[in-house]
């Protein structure tokens, strides 16, 4: 037995108490959906997990109506302190049921249990705990005294971090005093439905949180619904564009967290072993199903060979396989559709002349699997250097000077994340200044925290989630429509208001 061989150590699924069929969660109750049901499967085995309801436009309408009633009758009349206490309850319930949620997440999504257990679910609890404390402190959110909630928020989330994305959406929305209708991704509805049970256990007033399941059609009905005041979407740039168009001309507020093609820049003065770990974390964490993944490795030319060699050595130790096994590093690709896209783009990369390499690994015969892959000799114009692959595929490019690194890193319509590896602080800060990306990790990668704003530049979307900025995305200033803060108004030249009126005749 070599040091890489372990006995299987699967996490038990005995603590799961799943229903065979889940309805929609509307107005505090599970109700049947009007459209045909669908099956959610484990991407690791392709085995059926549960039958899921599909919300029709009518069901979405009922969910929005429930959210509206809850907003007007209960949630907006509660004090911030009481709202906060509900959120604290949710945070605690998530902690109490943490292992169950982690197992369900790995089962439904395919991500390794060590990630759902140690990253996703703890962050979910942290997110609710963080925003719970904001609920009675909204005066400090940066919009002046007594800011108001927006109303009903329509939230559509992706399949890569199902429960975590739910927390990013619901926690700040509720803290700010909004009610929500959330649609989880078609392939990963399970933990959102378990969360609905937590909402019941927390005794949240009916209609404050509504969960509607379904595919793109359901999402469209939700986003286009005339009675929602806020739309928050995380997902692909293509869908984000569509939503931005559909929201145009309405008074709906919109935040979009879209795709990325993050550059991970490694300078020759970087601590190489740590950088290699960071590269692995950047692109193979969550099978590369990460919008902020470091999918482009920019390595200084003089250390290219050494970094690539050490990276290959490291990749040979990654364990790909059963997501529920505690030793697994890389789990299953989330869906057949996504696997197809990863295969297609990787084939294009090869066809365009890049050199493809994967460690030898036995992939299971059932389920959707893709071995960790790196491409060297990648040109900046190649599809694999430009398109978001959203899989465990790394494109390696080189640079000679910091200026070239910055130019290459910014040479993308996206602008979500970037990494910088160097031992020289002044260089890191100078490069960080010049990168056009919303989140920059220096000598680390893929760190998330509820206190830390997250979101993109350019075509990676707009608005921030996390921190004070993430809270403000669900609030409006106390003054009516024109968002003029009290401080700005008093600091303005006193004469201006009257003059403007006269001139405007």
């Amino acid at each position: 037995m070599s040091f890489l061989e372990y006995a299987a150590a699967p996490e038990s699924t005995a603590l799961l108490n799943l229903q065979s069929e889940y309805g929609l969660f509307i107005d505090g109750e599970f109700v049947a959906g009007s459209d045909p049901t669908f099956s959610t499967i484990s991407p690791a085995t392709e085995k059926h997990i549960a039958t899921i309801a599909t919300a029709s436009a009518g069901d979405v309408d009922a969910a929005v109506a429930a959210a509206r009633r809850a907003y007007e009758k209960s949630w907006s009349t509660l004090s911030g302190r009481e709202r906060g206490k509900y959120l604290f309850r949710i945070a605690r319930l998530v902690q109490e049921r943490a292992r169950e949620l982690a197992v369900a997440e790995s089962l439904d999504n395919g991500k390794p249990i060590k990630e759902s257990r140690d990253v996703d679910v703890p962050l979910v609890a942290a997110w609710f705990f963080y925003y719970a404390g904001w609920a009675d402190k909204l005066d400090y959110a940066g919009l002046g005294a007594s800011p108001r909630a927006l109303g009903v928020a329509a939230q559509v989330i992706p399949w890569n971090f199902p429960l975590l994305m739910l927390a990013w959406k619901i926690a700040p929305a509720l803290a700010a005093g909004n009610t929500v209708v959330l649609k989880p991704a078609e392939t990963t509805p399970l933990t959102a439905l378990l969360f609905a049970e937590i909402v019941q256990q927390a005794g949240l007033p009916a209609g404050v949180v509504n969960i509607v399941t379904g595919a793109g059609e359901t999402g469209r009905a939700l986003v286009d619904h005339p009675d929602v005041n806020k739309v928050a979407f995380t997902g692909s740039t293509a869908v984000g564009r569509e939503i931005a168009r559909s929201v145009a001309g309405t008074s709906k507020r919109l935040t979009l967290e879209l795709g990325g093609k993050g550059a991970n820049i490694v300078f020759d003065d970087a601590p190489i072993d740590q950088a290699v770990e960071g590269i692995v974390r950047g692109i193979f964490f969550n099978q590369g199903h990460v919008c902020c993944a470091g999918s482009r490795l920019l390595v200084q030319e003089n250390i290219h060979d050494e970094v690539v060699e050490r990276l290959k050595t490291r990749l040979q130790t990654l364990r790909v396989g059963d997501p529920l096994d505690k030793n697994t590093d890389v789990g299953a690709i989330n869906s057949a559709e996504q696997l197809q896209r990863i295969r297609q783009l990787s084939d294009i990369g090869e066809a365009e002349g890049a050199e493809r390499w994967s460690p030898a690994c036995d992939l299971p015969t059932e389920g959707f699997w893709f071995a960790p892959t790196i491409f060297t000799n990648v040109s900046t114009s190649s599809r694999i250097a430009r398109d978001e692959i959203f899989g465990p595929v790394l494109s390696v490019l080189t640079f000679r000077t910091p200026a070239e690194a910055v130019a290459k890193a910014n040479n993308t319509p996206y602008g979500l994340s970037a990494g910088i590896w160097s031992d020289k602080g002044s260089k890191i800060l100078a490069v960080a200044d010049k990168l056009r990306a919303g989140v920059i990790w220096a000598n680390t990668f893929n760190q998330f925290d509820p206190a830390s704003p997250f979101g993109g530049y350019k075509e990676s979307g707009y608005g921030r989630e996390g921190g004070k900025q993430g809270l403000a995305a669900y609030l409006q200033a106390a003054a009516a429509a024109p968002a003029v803060s009290a401080t700005a108004a008093t600091a303005a030249p006193a004469v201006s208001a009257t003059v403007t009126k006269e001139v405007a005749r």
């Binding site: 984000g240 931005a244 879209l258 990306a437 206190a451 350019k458 707009y462 024109p482 803060s485 003059v499």
Partner: protein, 288 residues
């Protein structure tokens, strides 16, 4: 015998220069009683694109300047405006048909507004940014940065105050702007461009187009190298179509707010931060 006045040729302002429209087109600016005042350049799609190129080229230098430096440059504009106060008052009287007291009040308010915004250049980061206490050994800070190239449809119902209210906040953080001036009240916009050209604002940071907003705005809204769109003065246009066009490259869009657009552009920190992006930087701390 009275002296014959020397009239001014009003042109566009692109990349720090005053070109005529490449299309060769002009349109008449008339006074409140319909009398001819001047021929203004009727900017074309090509002019708009040239202006975007100029703006893109100026972003790097302007956004890299220190807040203190940008603040002084913006303050300098107010100094020069003050010196040419009489010229702006005369133009506003002629174009808008208001009396000189009303025109003077508009000019004074515009000058004071420059100063108000100039003072923000080295402060908005402190107010809109923050240090973040994350759960781990990391230094973590969020700062607002300029979005890039901002295309602005200026208020159509104001010569100078509306224009200043729209462009000044975008400039504070280091954006470069392409502004489509008021179609009817375009003279002050070009006179302001003369002030900008003789102040310390680098060429290309502000680009002024005169002509038909209805004609030019769609090209700016769909231009892939424009990062944000301020529809402040687009209330009379088919602005929903502009917002839809802007979605193609996920531009940040500030829709019109209804009512008088000049009045809607009251000075606010929000008008500055609307054209900024929050950048969050994580840095490891060693464990000692």
């Amino acid at each position: 015998m009275s002296r014959l006045a020397v009239l001014k040729t009003y042109k566009l302002y692109i990349g720090g220069k005053f070109p005529r429209s490449e299309s060769g087109r002009v349109y008449e600016i008339v006074g409140s009683s319909g009398e001819f005042l001047a021929n203004a350049a009727l900017a074309s799609r090509k002019d708009a694109r040239d202006a975007v190129v100029a703006a893109r080229g100026a972003v790097s230098g302007w956004s890299k300047a220190t807040g203190y430096n940008r603040g002084q440059v913006l303050y300098r504009i107010a100094e020069l405006l003050e010196g040419r106060r009489a010229q702006f008052v005369d133009e506003i009287v002629a174009v808008e048909g208001v009396n000189s007291a009303v025109a003077a009040a508009q000019v004074d308010a515009a000058i004071d507004r420059w100063i108000w915004y100039a003072g923000w250049a080295d402060k908005y980061v402190q107010v809109a940014g923050n240090a973040n206490a994350v759960s781990g050994p990391f230094f973590n800070i969020s700062v607002p940065e300029p979005t890039g190239v901002v295309a602005i449809i200026a208020p159509q119902d104001s010569s100078l105050l509306g224009l200043v209210s729209a462009i000044a906040p975008a400039l504070v953080s280091g954006n470069a702007v392409v502004v489509v001036a008021s179609e009817r009240f375009a003279l002050s916009a070009i006179s302001l461009a003369e002030v900008l050209a003789t102040s310390d604002v680098p060429g290309g940071v502000v680009n002024v187009l005169t002509g038909s907003p209805a004609e030019i705005a769609p090209w700016l809204a769909s231009h892939a190298d424009v990062n944000a769109l301020d529809l402040l003065g687009a209330g009379e246009l088919d602005w929903v179509d502009l917002q839809i066009a802007a979605a193609e490259t996920l531009k940040r869009v500030l829709p019109p707010e209804g009512g008088s657009s000049a009045a809607a552009a009251a000075p606010s920190l929000e008008r500055i931060t609307a054209f900024t992006e929050t950048k969050t930087v994580w840095h490891t701390k060693s464990l000692i």
